[in-house]
Amino acid sequence: MELFTPAMQVFFFAALTLSLGVMIYRMIKGPHVLDRVICIDAIALIVICMMAVWELAVGTPYFFDAILVLALVGFLATVALCKYLERGEIID
């Protein structure tokens, strides 16, 4: 039995796209600036998930580097912004 049927692919992608849409909505609406900052991180996470699903769908090992890099480095923007908002400076 095939593990990752097209139907499952569609389902996963639909769910993730829905989450993405919700995050974008919050990004636009979020009254407080911190809401928006959280959305950056959340969107990055959702994108990671989508990349992973896509890699499984295509069946190639070569996309994994992109996923790993995004996971390792993608939090920098969030951290820098938080530091700025909290303390007024990013690098001491």
């Binding site: 990349m51 480095v73 303390r87």
Partner: protein, 991 residues
Amino acid sequence: MLPVLLLLPFLGAALFYPIYQFRPGDRVPRQLTLITTGAVLVLLAWATFAPGGDAPREFFAEWIPAIGLHVSLWLDGPALFFSWIIAGIGFLIFYYSGHYMDPKDAPWRFYATMLLFMGAMLGVVMSRNVLLMFLFWEVTSLTSFILIGHWHERKSARQGALQALIVTALGGLCLLAGIAGVYWILMDAGLGGPHLLDWDQLWLHRDVITSHGASFVVLVLLLLGAFTKSAQFPFQFWLPGAMEAPTPVSAFLHAATMVKAGIYLLGRLYPVYWAEPSWLLIVGGVGVVTMLIGGFMAIVSTDLKQLLAHSTVSQLGLITAYYGFGHGLVGTEKPLPLDLALIASHALFKGGLFMIVGIIDHGTHTREWPRLGGLRHKMPWTFALTLIGCASMAGFPFTFGFVAKELFLKGALEVSQVHGAAGIFLFVTALLASLFTVAYCIRMVVSPFFGKPRDPSIDAHEGGAGILAAPAVLILLTLLGGLYVPLLERPIATLVEAAHYGKVSGFTVGFFHHVDVLLLLAVILFTGGAAIFLLADRIASAHKVFGSPAPFRRAYEWTFEEAAPAFAAWLCGAVQQPSLQRNIAITSGVAFGLIGFAAIYSGMPFVFEFDVTWLDIMAGGVVIMAGALVLLAIGSKTFVVRLIAISPIGPMVALFYLFYKAPDLALTQILVEVSLVVMLLLLLFRLPQRFVARSTRARRIATAAIAITGGLIMGALTFVGQHSETRGTSIIPGHPPVNQYYLENAFYPPQKFQDNPELAAELNYPGAGHLRSSGGRNVVNVILVDFRGFDTLGEILVLGISAVGLLVLLVLGRDPDKLPDWRSAGRRAVRYISEGYDESKPPAPTVLRRKIGAPPSLIMRETGRFAPAIVLVFAVVLFFAGHNAPGGGFIAGLMSAAAFAILLLSFRKEDIRRLHDFRYLTIIPAGMAVALGTGLVAVAFGLPFLTSGFTYLDVPFYGEVEVTSAIGFDLGVYLTVVGSVILIIKRLGQE
């Protein structure tokens, strides 16, 4: 061996920078210089005295056949002679510099530049190929500029350096035009070959050169090059201005070597052009006029160094005139000038006298002779050396200068007897100028050293043995040369024969072996000179009456110091908009327009049919959501919100790339976006928080138009390029489509490698003139480092330059008043960042700010301990994987910079002091050097630049591994990227 000799000074200078990193003492540069020069002298001695087979005196390597430029070196007569002068006097000057210069006075820069200059000068004289000589010629101009402006805080020094550079560089352009003219004449006559532009070939074909219609123009151009370099009329004004240089520089450059380059050129041109009727008039005329002007200006100078400068001008005029006269030796069919004797004598006494002026300067703190007097009691050795040196300069018997003077006067006499009115004019002017020479020599000896001290505040002290040693050697040589003339006859004759392609049957230069016109002339000279000296005051006051600066200097000053800067400032103000937005709008508008125009003009088929798969719907959805974010960014009022809005766009676009199976692009996109957000955030500091949109409606429409049009054009191009129909077609008929070519040729599988060794040899080096494959499975990376490596080289150069430029801006931009005095338009441009900001309102406070000054968060501190290490390890993995999997130098570099950013965010600067303070600026040129070096390795094997070689290794338990030399190039890319990005982030983050 010859290239080694030539490269030694350059290598020595290149070593300065790495050695400096270890911060040894300030005495080290001089020691290094002395060692390098000593090595050069040893090699030179070996080349001179070793038998012919052991020490080859010629070298040839092909370089650029299309323009006749080849690395063709030789050590023939003049080359050997000049090399000894350059290296020998150089060694003495470097020794002297140690005692003259303040040890803290930028020794590294000083000695490195002096070494570079010496190397360039050696290149000038050792070049057999005329065009190669020109290259080194220009390098001497450049290094002279740096050396004259050594004390660059002084405006007069900067002006003097700039004057010298502009005059000699303009002359250099004329020289280049002249060389091109010669090349063209020779090609016109059907000649060719790699040795076409060699000096001896020029002599062989001299009839062709001189009989061509354009030969006069070519001659004038070449002479302009020589005259500007040797400060001949009307270009003589730059040499006194160059006296702003430290004394060792003046002694080396402007007495012994650089100004001799023009004379050297005249000497090389002499065999070709001496029979031209115009040669006598132009060269001889310019020479004697210069001689006269120089002599006159010398006698009215009050500064001893200026006096020597003018006297150098005058003496160079003498040598120039001697070439013009073409005075020959007894018993030859063609006049062979004993130019080398004159050059040697001048170099010896002039170098020595300049150094002596330096000693006087040290001893009395002044160089103005009206303030000095009676120094011979307090500075006896200096007096003795000055006496002998000036005697040589004046042509007093028993000195080498006497030999030179006698040869010159013989030549002048001959000319006057043979050439009628012109000859008599030349002779009389030469005689008059020689009178001045004697006069200023007497001045230099008598005024400082005899009489009563005129300024009681001066307390003179003699120089030490160290500082006296070098000038003593030179002056003694000029004395010995004069006393032992017969010993010199053979060597000089041999050298001259080689220089001018003739035979010397014998010459007699000696003391007054019989009473003749020459003896009479000598008597006239000395009495007349003494008379002029006594009348000097009257002459000086007459000169003051006529007062104004020389007309040519005034012309130069008006053109280059008044008119050109004013024009440049006007142009800058007119063209450069003081608005970042306007600049970007113009640049991007033109760029998009050109791309669109090119696409339409080239006839790209804009086929817009497609089948839509659910993949395309997905990708479209992602793009639409990214678009929503963009609209949010445009509509928001604060910079923070704008920044937040565009942060997630990076990962989303990376996802889009992954959908279309481009993992390298996705990797790069993620990393660049993250770095961009961090940098923009750092810039946030320097901008006001809230801004009022002051854009007019028209501006907003224009911006939107440019953005939308650009997006549409780029999107259309991408779409059309992806479409299956155009994918298989090619824009250039007859060539395979580009992507197909790369896909087919990028990878050469290891099986085929083993099965078919001949084909493998054909595709790999040495053999194929054009390497068609690379063994890498990652086509994108292969394109970057193999097929289009040259483009990548340019890109990392641009990256490095922009990082350095940012550094300069950050340092200068802190205080706009520190900027040089540009006109107001320039100042406005720096003050404005964008026209959208209303600086009248104070920045609004940010949202939270409750933890100002607190230590970094615990989570970040603990994460920051290991996260950078993980990121770095992954960066290294990506680096090595690059050729066959997604990754590569650029991506690895950005990852490493991200690791550094994590560190900066997690800790305070004091906690990571050593990592923070490391000079990342040095990595940038190191990376560029590595990339260039990898490319040059291929050249060393005789292959085109940047060819890479690859092979497959069998690693036990792992399998097959591809090994390629392109990894060296990738390393260079990596280093440049790491250095640049870390530099930018670090500097932006500093106060």
